[in-house]
Protein backbone atom coordinates (compact mmCIF):
# COMPACT_ATOMS: atom_id res chain seq x y z
CA UNK A 1 0.00 0.00 0.00
CA UNK A 2 1.44 3.37 -1.00
CA UNK A 3 0.84 6.32 1.28
CA UNK A 4 2.62 9.33 2.72
CA UNK A 5 4.20 8.82 6.13
CA UNK A 6 2.34 10.89 8.74
CA UNK A 7 3.73 12.50 11.88
CA UNK A 8 2.23 14.15 14.92
CA UNK A 9 4.00 17.51 15.27
CA UNK A 10 2.00 19.33 17.94
CA UNK A 11 -0.50 18.74 20.73
CA UNK A 12 -2.78 20.63 23.12
CA UNK A 13 -5.16 19.68 25.88
CA UNK A 14 -7.52 21.57 28.20
CA UNK A 15 -8.06 20.76 31.82
CA UNK A 16 -10.61 17.97 32.27
CA UNK A 17 -13.35 19.01 34.71
CA UNK A 18 -16.77 17.83 35.85
CA UNK A 19 -18.55 21.03 34.79
CA UNK A 20 -16.87 23.51 32.50
CA UNK A 21 -18.24 27.01 32.14
CA UNK A 22 -16.87 26.96 28.60
CA UNK A 23 -19.05 25.60 25.83
CA UNK A 24 -17.88 22.55 23.88
CA UNK A 25 -16.73 24.80 21.06
CA UNK A 26 -14.79 27.04 23.45
CA UNK A 27 -13.04 23.98 24.89
CA UNK A 28 -12.26 22.79 21.35
CA UNK A 29 -10.80 26.19 20.40
CA UNK A 30 -8.57 26.25 23.48
CA UNK A 31 -7.12 22.80 22.76
CA UNK A 32 -6.75 23.50 19.03
CA UNK A 33 -4.96 26.80 19.61
CA UNK A 34 -2.62 25.15 22.11
CA UNK A 35 -1.80 22.43 19.58
CA UNK A 36 -1.07 24.99 16.85
CA UNK A 37 1.02 27.16 19.17
CA UNK A 38 3.01 24.13 20.36
CA UNK A 39 4.46 23.70 16.85
CA UNK A 40 4.47 27.32 15.72
CA UNK A 41 1.64 26.86 13.22
CA UNK A 42 -1.48 28.87 12.45
CA UNK A 43 -4.82 27.97 10.86
CA UNK A 44 -3.34 29.21 7.58
CA UNK A 45 -1.00 26.20 7.64
CA UNK A 46 -3.86 23.73 8.18
CA UNK A 47 -5.22 22.09 5.04
CA UNK A 48 -7.87 19.80 6.57
CA UNK A 49 -9.67 19.34 9.87
CA UNK A 50 -10.95 16.19 11.56
CA UNK A 51 -13.29 16.39 14.54
CA UNK A 52 -14.04 13.57 16.93
CA UNK A 53 -16.92 13.89 19.35
CA UNK A 54 -19.23 11.37 21.00
CA UNK A 55 -23.06 11.22 20.96
CA UNK A 56 -24.99 14.36 20.07
CA UNK A 57 -27.22 13.59 23.05
CA UNK A 58 -24.37 14.46 25.46
CA UNK A 59 -24.27 18.09 24.46
CA UNK A 60 -27.97 18.19 23.65
CA UNK A 61 -27.01 19.53 20.23
CA UNK A 62 -27.87 17.64 17.10
CA UNK A 63 -25.30 17.87 14.32
CA UNK A 64 -22.62 18.37 16.94
CA UNK A 65 -20.01 18.14 14.21
CA UNK A 66 -21.43 21.26 12.65
CA UNK A 67 -21.92 22.92 16.05
CA UNK A 68 -18.30 22.35 17.08
CA UNK A 69 -16.84 23.26 13.70
CA UNK A 70 -15.86 26.85 14.51
CA UNK A 71 -14.02 25.88 17.68
CA UNK A 72 -12.29 23.09 15.81
CA UNK A 73 -10.92 25.30 13.06
CA UNK A 74 -13.40 24.03 10.49
CA UNK A 75 -14.12 27.46 9.03
CA UNK A 76 -13.87 27.18 5.25
CA UNK A 77 -11.75 24.04 5.41
CA UNK A 78 -12.32 20.46 4.29
CA UNK A 79 -13.85 19.39 7.60
CA UNK A 80 -15.33 16.10 8.75
CA UNK A 81 -16.66 14.72 12.01
CA UNK A 82 -16.42 11.10 12.94
CA UNK A 83 -17.83 9.07 15.73
CA UNK A 84 -17.45 5.51 17.00
CA UNK A 85 -18.61 6.05 20.58
CA UNK A 86 -15.84 5.78 23.17
CA UNK A 87 -13.45 4.66 20.42
CA UNK A 88 -13.72 8.09 18.78
CA UNK A 89 -10.68 9.65 20.45
CA UNK A 90 -8.31 7.24 18.75
CA UNK A 91 -10.40 6.97 15.60
CA UNK A 92 -10.19 10.75 14.99
CA UNK A 93 -6.39 10.65 14.56
CA UNK A 94 -6.80 7.58 12.36
CA UNK A 95 -9.21 9.58 10.24
CA UNK A 96 -6.79 12.51 10.16
CA UNK A 97 -4.03 10.06 9.23
CA UNK A 98 -6.09 9.07 6.19
CA UNK A 99 -6.40 12.68 5.08
CA UNK A 100 -2.62 13.09 5.05
CA UNK A 101 -1.51 9.53 4.24
CA UNK A 102 -3.67 9.58 1.11
CA UNK A 103 -1.64 12.47 -0.25
CA UNK A 104 -4.75 14.64 -0.42
CA UNK A 105 -3.44 17.00 2.29
CA UNK A 106 -0.08 17.73 3.89
CA UNK A 107 -1.52 18.87 7.22
CA UNK A 108 -4.56 18.01 9.32
CA UNK A 109 -5.76 19.44 12.63
CA UNK A 110 -7.43 16.72 14.71
CA UNK A 111 -9.68 17.98 17.51
CA UNK A 112 -11.70 15.99 20.04
CA UNK A 113 -14.13 17.86 22.28
CA UNK A 114 -16.73 16.67 24.75
CA UNK A 115 -19.05 18.47 27.11
CA UNK A 116 -20.98 15.87 29.08
CA UNK A 117 -22.20 18.13 31.87
CA UNK A 118 -25.08 19.66 29.90
CA UNK A 119 -26.85 16.34 30.26
CA UNK A 120 -29.13 16.12 33.32
CA UNK A 121 -29.47 14.34 35.58
CA UNK A 122 -26.56 12.35 34.14
CA UNK A 123 -25.21 11.42 30.69
CA UNK A 124 -26.23 7.84 31.43
CA UNK A 125 -29.75 8.91 30.45
CA UNK A 126 -28.52 9.51 26.93
CA UNK A 127 -26.93 6.07 26.90
CA UNK A 128 -30.26 4.37 27.43
CA UNK A 129 -31.14 4.47 23.75
CA UNK A 130 -27.94 2.78 22.62
CA UNK A 131 -29.67 -0.45 23.62
CA UNK A 132 -32.16 -2.19 21.35
CA UNK A 133 -35.48 -0.44 21.83
CA UNK A 134 -37.59 -3.56 21.58
CA UNK A 135 -35.64 -6.23 23.44
CA UNK A 136 -33.54 -4.36 26.01
CA UNK A 137 -34.54 -0.78 26.77
CA UNK A 138 -37.59 -1.67 28.84
CA UNK A 139 -35.29 -3.52 31.25
CA UNK A 140 -33.64 -0.15 31.97
CA UNK A 141 -30.06 -1.21 31.29
CA UNK A 142 -27.24 1.26 31.90
CA UNK A 143 -23.63 1.14 30.82
CA UNK A 144 -22.73 0.20 34.38
CA UNK A 145 -24.75 -2.99 34.00
CA UNK A 146 -22.93 -4.16 30.95
CA UNK A 147 -19.54 -3.32 32.41
CA UNK A 148 -20.51 -5.17 35.58
CA UNK A 149 -21.51 -8.20 33.52
CA UNK A 150 -18.30 -8.05 31.51
CA UNK A 151 -16.15 -7.56 34.62
CA UNK A 152 -17.86 -10.48 36.32
CA UNK A 153 -17.24 -12.73 33.31
CA UNK A 154 -13.60 -11.61 33.07
CA UNK A 155 -13.03 -12.23 36.79
CA UNK A 156 -14.71 -15.62 36.82
CA UNK A 157 -13.04 -16.86 33.64
CA UNK A 158 -9.55 -16.30 35.03
CA UNK A 159 -10.11 -16.27 38.78
CA UNK A 160 -9.14 -12.61 39.17
CA UNK A 161 -10.26 -10.75 42.29
CA UNK A 162 -11.68 -7.28 42.87
CA UNK A 163 -8.71 -6.54 45.12
CA UNK A 164 -6.32 -7.21 42.25
CA UNK A 165 -8.32 -5.16 39.76
CA UNK A 166 -8.56 -2.24 42.20
CA UNK A 167 -4.79 -1.84 41.90
CA UNK A 168 -5.30 -0.44 38.40
CA UNK A 169 -7.44 2.35 39.80
CA UNK A 170 -4.89 3.03 42.55
CA UNK A 171 -2.06 3.18 39.99
CA UNK A 172 -3.82 5.35 37.43
CA UNK A 173 -5.26 7.87 39.85
CA UNK A 174 -1.78 8.21 41.36
CA UNK A 175 -0.20 8.66 37.93
CA UNK A 176 -2.69 11.45 37.30
CA UNK A 177 -1.21 13.43 40.22
CA UNK A 178 1.45 14.56 37.74
CA UNK A 179 -0.92 15.43 34.88
CA UNK A 180 -1.80 19.13 34.65
CA UNK A 181 -5.16 18.39 32.98
CA UNK A 182 -6.28 15.80 35.55
CA UNK A 183 -9.74 15.84 37.09
CA UNK A 184 -9.40 13.02 39.63
CA UNK A 185 -5.77 12.73 40.65
CA UNK A 186 -5.59 11.05 44.05
CA UNK A 187 -3.62 8.74 46.25
CA UNK A 188 -5.95 5.98 47.29
CA UNK A 189 -5.63 2.41 48.51
CA UNK A 190 -7.21 -0.83 47.39
CA UNK A 191 -9.37 -0.59 50.52
CA UNK A 192 -10.68 2.79 49.39
CA UNK A 193 -11.78 1.27 46.09
CA UNK A 194 -13.43 -1.72 47.75
CA UNK A 195 -15.18 0.49 50.32
CA UNK A 196 -16.49 2.97 47.78
CA UNK A 197 -20.18 2.76 46.92
CA UNK A 198 -21.25 -0.33 44.99
CA UNK A 199 -22.99 0.79 41.82
CA UNK A 200 -23.66 -2.60 40.25
CA UNK A 201 -21.61 -5.42 41.70
CA UNK A 202 -18.72 -5.95 41.04
CA UNK A 203 -18.38 -2.32 40.01
CA UNK A 204 -17.76 0.25 42.77
CA UNK A 205 -17.57 3.98 42.29
CA UNK A 206 -13.76 4.10 42.36
CA UNK A 207 -13.58 1.37 39.70
CA UNK A 208 -15.00 3.89 37.21
CA UNK A 209 -13.78 6.98 35.42
CA UNK A 210 -15.84 10.17 35.91
CA UNK A 211 -18.05 12.06 33.47
CA UNK A 212 -16.01 15.03 32.26
CA UNK A 213 -15.83 18.12 30.08
CA UNK A 214 -12.65 18.68 28.10
CA UNK A 215 -10.92 18.83 24.75
CA UNK A 216 -7.67 17.73 23.13
CA UNK A 217 -6.05 18.40 19.76
CA UNK A 218 -3.07 17.34 17.66
CA UNK A 219 -1.51 18.54 14.42
CA UNK A 220 -0.62 15.95 11.77
CA UNK A 221 1.80 16.54 8.93
CA UNK A 222 3.19 14.60 5.99
CA UNK A 223 6.83 13.53 6.18
CA UNK A 224 8.32 16.34 4.10
CA UNK A 225 6.15 18.92 5.90
CA UNK A 226 6.81 17.51 9.37
CA UNK A 227 10.55 17.77 8.92
CA UNK A 228 10.22 21.50 8.29
CA UNK A 229 8.08 21.96 11.40
CA UNK A 230 9.96 19.97 14.03
CA UNK A 231 13.08 17.91 14.56
CA UNK A 232 11.10 15.63 16.86
CA UNK A 233 8.24 14.24 14.78
CA UNK A 234 6.42 11.23 16.19
CA UNK A 235 5.26 8.92 13.41
CA UNK A 236 1.91 7.21 13.17
CA UNK A 237 3.29 3.92 11.88
CA UNK A 238 0.21 1.76 12.30
CA UNK A 239 -3.55 2.27 12.54
CA UNK A 240 -6.28 -0.26 13.12
CA UNK A 241 -9.93 -0.47 14.04
CA UNK A 242 -12.50 -3.22 14.18
CA UNK A 243 -16.13 -3.73 15.12
CA UNK A 244 -17.76 -6.75 16.74
CA UNK A 245 -21.37 -7.95 16.43
CA UNK A 246 -24.21 -5.57 17.29
CA UNK A 247 -25.58 -8.28 19.60
CA UNK A 248 -23.38 -7.42 22.54
CA UNK A 249 -24.89 -10.05 24.81
CA UNK A 250 -23.57 -12.84 22.59
CA UNK A 251 -19.94 -11.68 22.63
CA UNK A 252 -17.13 -13.42 24.46
CA UNK A 253 -17.11 -10.87 27.25
CA UNK A 254 -13.90 -12.15 28.83
CA UNK A 255 -11.84 -11.34 25.74
CA UNK A 256 -12.11 -8.33 23.36
CA UNK A 257 -11.54 -10.10 20.06
CA UNK A 258 -12.31 -6.91 18.12
CA UNK A 259 -9.48 -5.12 19.96
CA UNK A 260 -7.13 -7.93 18.94
CA UNK A 261 -8.17 -7.57 15.31
CA UNK A 262 -7.67 -3.79 15.44
CA UNK A 263 -4.27 -4.27 17.06
CA UNK A 264 -3.18 -6.88 14.53
CA UNK A 265 -4.12 -4.50 11.72
CA UNK A 266 -2.01 -1.74 13.26
CA UNK A 267 0.90 -4.08 14.06
CA UNK A 268 1.01 -5.44 10.53
CA UNK A 269 1.14 -1.91 9.12
CA UNK A 270 3.89 -0.95 11.59
CA UNK A 271 5.84 -4.15 10.96
CA UNK A 272 5.47 -5.28 14.55
CA UNK A 273 5.68 -9.02 14.99
CA UNK A 274 6.33 -9.23 18.73
CA UNK A 275 4.11 -6.64 20.42
CA UNK A 276 5.11 -7.71 23.96
CA UNK A 277 8.71 -6.86 23.15
CA UNK A 278 8.30 -4.01 20.68
CA UNK A 279 5.52 -1.95 22.31
CA UNK A 280 7.45 -0.34 25.15
CA UNK A 281 4.72 1.88 26.55
CA UNK A 282 0.96 1.91 26.12
CA UNK A 283 -2.22 3.78 26.93
CA UNK A 284 -4.93 1.11 26.83
CA UNK A 285 -8.43 2.53 27.32
CA UNK A 286 -9.37 2.42 31.00
CA UNK A 287 -12.89 3.77 31.59
CA UNK A 288 -13.13 1.02 34.22
CA UNK A 289 -10.12 -0.43 36.02
CA UNK A 290 -10.54 -4.01 34.75
CA UNK A 291 -10.62 -2.64 31.18
CA UNK A 292 -6.91 -1.80 31.30
CA UNK A 293 -6.11 -5.48 31.94
CA UNK A 294 -8.76 -6.68 29.49
CA UNK A 295 -7.39 -4.41 26.78
CA UNK A 296 -3.73 -5.30 27.45
CA UNK A 297 -4.73 -8.86 26.60
CA UNK A 298 -6.69 -7.87 23.50
CA UNK A 299 -3.70 -5.79 22.39
CA UNK A 300 -1.49 -8.90 22.77
CA UNK A 301 0.65 -7.06 25.34
CA UNK A 302 -0.15 -9.79 27.88
CA UNK A 303 -1.27 -13.41 27.59
CA UNK A 304 -4.95 -14.06 28.21
CA UNK A 305 -5.76 -13.82 31.88
CA UNK A 306 -2.17 -12.82 32.68
CA UNK A 307 -2.26 -9.01 32.51
CA UNK A 308 -3.01 -9.05 36.22
CA UNK A 309 0.38 -10.71 36.86
CA UNK A 310 2.17 -7.83 35.14
CA UNK A 311 0.15 -5.47 37.33
CA UNK A 312 0.98 -7.36 40.54
CA UNK A 313 4.66 -7.52 39.57
CA UNK A 314 4.72 -3.72 39.16
CA UNK A 315 5.61 -3.98 35.48
CA UNK A 316 2.80 -1.63 34.45
CA UNK A 317 3.87 1.12 36.85
CA UNK A 318 5.36 4.22 35.31
CA UNK A 319 8.85 3.06 36.30
CA UNK A 320 8.10 -0.56 35.43
CA UNK A 321 9.19 -2.57 32.43
CA UNK A 322 5.94 -1.93 30.49
CA UNK A 323 4.26 1.27 31.71
CA UNK A 324 0.49 1.30 31.14
CA UNK A 325 -1.49 4.54 31.30
CA UNK A 326 1.41 6.68 32.55
CA UNK A 327 -0.87 9.70 31.98
CA UNK A 328 -3.26 8.57 34.68
CA UNK A 329 -5.73 7.36 32.10
CA UNK A 330 -9.46 7.88 32.00
CA UNK A 331 -9.59 6.84 35.65
CA UNK A 332 -7.31 9.64 36.80
CA UNK A 333 -7.17 12.34 34.14
CA UNK A 334 -10.89 12.04 33.42
CA UNK A 335 -13.15 10.79 30.69
CA UNK A 336 -14.58 13.41 28.32
CA UNK A 337 -15.26 10.57 25.90
CA UNK A 338 -13.65 11.53 22.58
CA UNK A 339 -11.07 13.79 24.23
CA UNK A 340 -9.91 10.89 26.43
CA UNK A 341 -8.70 8.79 23.51
CA UNK A 342 -6.82 11.73 22.04
CA UNK A 343 -5.36 12.55 25.47
CA UNK A 344 -3.92 9.01 25.36
CA UNK A 345 -2.42 9.56 21.92
CA UNK A 346 -0.92 12.84 23.18
CA UNK A 347 0.57 11.06 26.20
CA UNK A 348 2.44 8.60 23.98
CA UNK A 349 3.50 11.50 21.71
CA UNK A 350 4.97 13.36 24.70
CA UNK A 351 6.56 10.24 26.21
CA UNK A 352 8.30 9.33 22.94
CA UNK A 353 9.58 12.89 22.63
CA UNK A 354 10.84 12.82 26.20
CA UNK A 355 8.56 15.76 27.03
CA UNK A 356 6.22 14.19 29.58
CA UNK A 357 7.80 16.08 32.48
CA UNK A 358 7.16 14.46 35.86
CA UNK A 359 5.30 11.68 34.08
CA UNK A 360 8.25 10.77 31.88
CA UNK A 361 8.95 7.04 31.91
CA UNK A 362 12.57 5.90 32.05
CA UNK A 363 14.35 4.12 29.21
CA UNK A 364 13.76 6.49 26.28
CA UNK A 365 10.99 4.44 24.67
CA UNK A 366 10.91 4.46 20.88
CA UNK A 367 7.60 2.76 20.21
CA UNK A 368 4.23 3.06 21.93
CA UNK A 369 0.54 2.52 21.45
CA UNK A 370 -2.74 4.23 22.30
CA UNK A 371 -6.07 2.47 22.20
CA UNK A 372 -9.71 3.36 22.73
CA UNK A 373 -12.85 1.33 22.77
CA UNK A 374 -16.48 2.10 22.39
CA UNK A 375 -19.77 1.92 20.53
CA UNK A 376 -21.84 -0.66 22.41
CA UNK A 377 -18.58 -2.07 23.83
CA UNK A 378 -17.74 -3.46 20.45
CA UNK A 379 -15.22 -1.24 18.65
CA UNK A 380 -11.46 -1.20 19.11
CA UNK A 381 -9.29 1.65 17.75
CA UNK A 382 -5.49 1.51 17.86
CA UNK A 383 -2.57 3.68 16.77
CA UNK A 384 1.09 2.67 16.96
CA UNK A 385 3.52 5.58 17.33
CA UNK A 386 7.30 5.68 16.86
CA UNK A 387 9.90 8.35 17.12
Amino acid sequence: MAYQRVAIVGAGITKFVRRAHETGKELAAQAAKMALDSCGMTMKDIESVSLGTAPDAFDGVHMKGEYLSDGSGGWRKPYMRQFVGGGTGVFAPIHGWYHVASGMFDTCLVVCSEKMSSCHPHPQGAFKTIFDHTTEQALNPTLIWIFALEMNRYMSTYGITKEEIALVSVKNKKNAMDHPAAQLPMEITVEDVLNSETLAWPVNRLDISPASDGAAAIVLASEHTAKRITDKPVWIDGVGWNLDTAYWATRDLYYPRYVEKAARMAYEMAGITEPKREIEIAEPYDPFDYKELHHMEGLLLADRGKAVEMLLDGKTQRDGDRPMCPSGGALGVGNPIAATGLMKVIEIFLQLRGEAGKRQVPGNPRCGLAQAWGDLMQVGTVVVLRR
Binding site: R19, A20, H21, E22, T23, K25, E26, A29, Q30, A32, K33, L36, T42, M43, A57, G60, D70, G71, G73, W75, S117, S118, C119, H120, P121, P123, G125, A126, K128, T129, H133, T134, Q137
Partner: protein, 157 residues
Protein backbone atom coordinates in the same frame (compact mmCIF):
# COMPACT_ATOMS: atom_id res chain seq x y z
CA UNK B 1 -50.67 11.81 4.89
CA UNK B 2 -50.04 14.83 7.07
CA UNK B 3 -46.56 15.33 8.37
CA UNK B 4 -47.86 15.40 11.92
CA UNK B 5 -49.92 12.19 11.75
CA UNK B 6 -49.20 10.11 14.83
CA UNK B 7 -49.20 6.43 15.73
CA UNK B 8 -51.53 6.16 18.73
CA UNK B 9 -52.30 2.47 19.05
CA UNK B 10 -49.16 1.49 20.94
CA UNK B 11 -51.03 -1.17 22.93
CA UNK B 12 -51.05 -3.35 19.84
CA UNK B 13 -48.05 -5.59 19.29
CA UNK B 14 -46.63 -3.77 16.29
CA UNK B 15 -45.51 -0.68 18.18
CA UNK B 16 -43.40 0.10 21.17
CA UNK B 17 -43.16 3.46 22.91
CA UNK B 18 -39.82 5.00 23.83
CA UNK B 19 -38.18 8.16 25.07
CA UNK B 20 -34.73 9.51 25.83
CA UNK B 21 -34.88 10.45 29.50
CA UNK B 22 -32.56 13.44 29.47
CA UNK B 23 -32.79 17.15 30.17
CA UNK B 24 -30.16 19.75 29.39
CA UNK B 25 -28.62 22.64 31.23
CA UNK B 26 -26.51 24.64 28.80
CA UNK B 27 -23.80 26.96 30.05
CA UNK B 28 -23.57 30.21 28.13
CA UNK B 29 -19.83 29.86 28.00
CA UNK B 30 -17.18 32.56 28.20
CA UNK B 31 -18.47 34.65 25.29
CA UNK B 32 -22.24 34.55 25.54
CA UNK B 33 -22.18 34.98 29.32
CA UNK B 34 -20.83 38.51 28.78
CA UNK B 35 -23.39 39.18 26.05
CA UNK B 36 -26.46 38.17 28.04
CA UNK B 37 -25.27 39.78 31.30
CA UNK B 38 -24.92 43.11 29.50
CA UNK B 39 -28.46 42.82 28.14
CA UNK B 40 -29.91 41.77 31.48
CA UNK B 41 -28.09 44.28 33.69
CA UNK B 42 -27.49 47.27 31.44
CA UNK B 43 -29.74 46.84 28.41
CA UNK B 44 -26.59 47.04 26.27
CA UNK B 45 -25.42 45.02 23.31
CA UNK B 46 -21.86 43.70 23.15
CA UNK B 47 -19.74 42.47 20.27
CA UNK B 48 -16.15 41.22 20.28
CA UNK B 49 -13.38 41.89 17.82
CA UNK B 50 -10.48 39.75 16.64
CA UNK B 51 -7.67 42.25 16.07
CA UNK B 52 -5.67 39.66 14.15
CA UNK B 53 -8.37 38.99 11.54
CA UNK B 54 -10.26 42.29 11.80
CA UNK B 55 -13.63 40.58 12.30
CA UNK B 56 -16.24 41.88 14.74
CA UNK B 57 -18.44 39.14 16.13
CA UNK B 58 -22.01 39.56 17.34
CA UNK B 59 -23.07 38.20 19.79
CA UNK B 60 -19.79 38.11 21.74
CA UNK B 61 -17.49 35.20 20.96
CA UNK B 62 -14.55 34.20 23.14
CA UNK B 63 -12.41 33.01 20.23
CA UNK B 64 -12.00 33.83 16.56
CA UNK B 65 -13.29 31.14 14.23
CA UNK B 66 -10.67 32.05 11.64
CA UNK B 67 -7.44 31.99 13.67
CA UNK B 68 -8.76 30.36 16.88
CA UNK B 69 -7.15 33.21 18.83
CA UNK B 70 -8.64 34.11 22.19
CA UNK B 71 -10.78 37.27 22.31
CA UNK B 72 -11.15 38.82 25.74
CA UNK B 73 -12.28 42.39 25.09
CA UNK B 74 -15.80 43.39 24.16
CA UNK B 75 -17.07 46.46 22.33
CA UNK B 76 -20.51 48.05 22.79
CA UNK B 77 -22.68 48.34 19.68
CA UNK B 78 -26.12 50.00 19.40
CA UNK B 79 -27.83 46.74 18.42
CA UNK B 80 -29.43 48.40 15.42
CA UNK B 81 -29.20 46.98 11.94
CA UNK B 82 -30.85 46.30 8.61
CA UNK B 83 -33.13 43.50 7.48
CA UNK B 84 -30.98 41.12 5.42
CA UNK B 85 -33.75 38.60 4.70
CA UNK B 86 -37.17 37.89 6.18
CA UNK B 87 -39.97 35.35 6.16
CA UNK B 88 -43.61 35.32 7.23
CA UNK B 89 -44.54 32.21 9.24
CA UNK B 90 -48.20 31.10 8.97
CA UNK B 91 -48.35 27.70 10.67
CA UNK B 92 -47.42 26.44 14.13
CA UNK B 93 -45.22 23.35 14.63
CA UNK B 94 -48.36 21.17 14.83
CA UNK B 95 -49.59 22.64 11.54
CA UNK B 96 -52.41 24.65 13.16
CA UNK B 97 -52.74 28.18 11.75
CA UNK B 98 -51.17 31.03 13.72
CA UNK B 99 -53.56 33.73 14.96
CA UNK B 100 -51.18 36.31 13.62
CA UNK B 101 -48.42 35.44 11.14
CA UNK B 102 -44.96 35.72 12.73
CA UNK B 103 -42.29 37.86 11.08
CA UNK B 104 -38.80 36.45 11.30
CA UNK B 105 -35.69 38.18 9.98
CA UNK B 106 -31.94 38.01 9.74
CA UNK B 107 -30.60 41.36 10.92
CA UNK B 108 -27.32 42.76 9.59
CA UNK B 109 -26.04 44.16 12.89
CA UNK B 110 -24.49 47.65 12.64
CA UNK B 111 -20.79 47.87 13.48
CA UNK B 112 -20.28 44.10 13.23
CA UNK B 113 -19.60 41.45 10.61
CA UNK B 114 -22.46 39.26 11.77
CA UNK B 115 -26.14 38.66 11.26
CA UNK B 116 -28.61 37.78 13.94
CA UNK B 117 -31.91 35.85 13.90
CA UNK B 118 -34.92 37.37 15.61
CA UNK B 119 -38.56 38.41 15.25
CA UNK B 120 -39.75 41.64 13.71
CA UNK B 121 -42.28 43.49 15.80
CA UNK B 122 -44.51 46.56 15.45
CA UNK B 123 -44.70 46.19 11.69
CA UNK B 124 -47.08 44.52 9.23
CA UNK B 125 -45.79 41.90 6.80
CA UNK B 126 -46.58 44.01 3.74
CA UNK B 127 -44.47 46.87 5.16
CA UNK B 128 -41.25 44.87 5.59
CA UNK B 129 -38.48 45.41 3.06
CA UNK B 130 -35.01 43.97 2.72
CA UNK B 131 -32.60 46.70 3.77
CA UNK B 132 -35.10 48.26 6.18
CA UNK B 133 -33.46 49.83 9.26
CA UNK B 134 -34.48 48.23 12.54
CA UNK B 135 -33.73 48.56 16.25
CA UNK B 136 -34.02 46.05 19.10
CA UNK B 137 -36.83 46.23 21.66
CA UNK B 138 -36.01 44.87 25.11
CA UNK B 139 -38.27 43.66 27.90
CA UNK B 140 -38.47 45.85 31.00
CA UNK B 141 -35.41 45.41 33.22
CA UNK B 142 -37.34 43.62 35.97
CA UNK B 143 -38.47 40.97 33.48
CA UNK B 144 -35.06 40.33 31.93
CA UNK B 145 -33.29 37.13 32.95
CA UNK B 146 -30.30 36.97 30.60
CA UNK B 147 -32.05 35.11 27.83
CA UNK B 148 -32.52 35.48 24.07
CA UNK B 149 -36.19 36.32 24.77
CA UNK B 150 -35.14 39.41 26.75
CA UNK B 151 -35.16 40.86 23.25
CA UNK B 152 -38.80 41.06 22.19
CA UNK B 153 -37.86 41.65 18.59
CA UNK B 154 -36.66 44.32 16.17
CA UNK B 155 -38.90 47.13 14.98
CA UNK B 156 -38.48 49.71 12.24
CA UNK B 157 -36.08 52.45 13.34
Amino acid sequence: MGLTERINQTDQLSYYEGQIPVEYVYTYGLGLEKFFRAIKDDGKFLASRCLECGITYFPVRSFCERCLGKIEDTVAVPGTGKVYAFTVVHLNMDESPKKEPALVALIDVDGTDCRFLHYLTGVEAYEVRVGMKVKPILKAKKDRRGHIEDILGFQPA
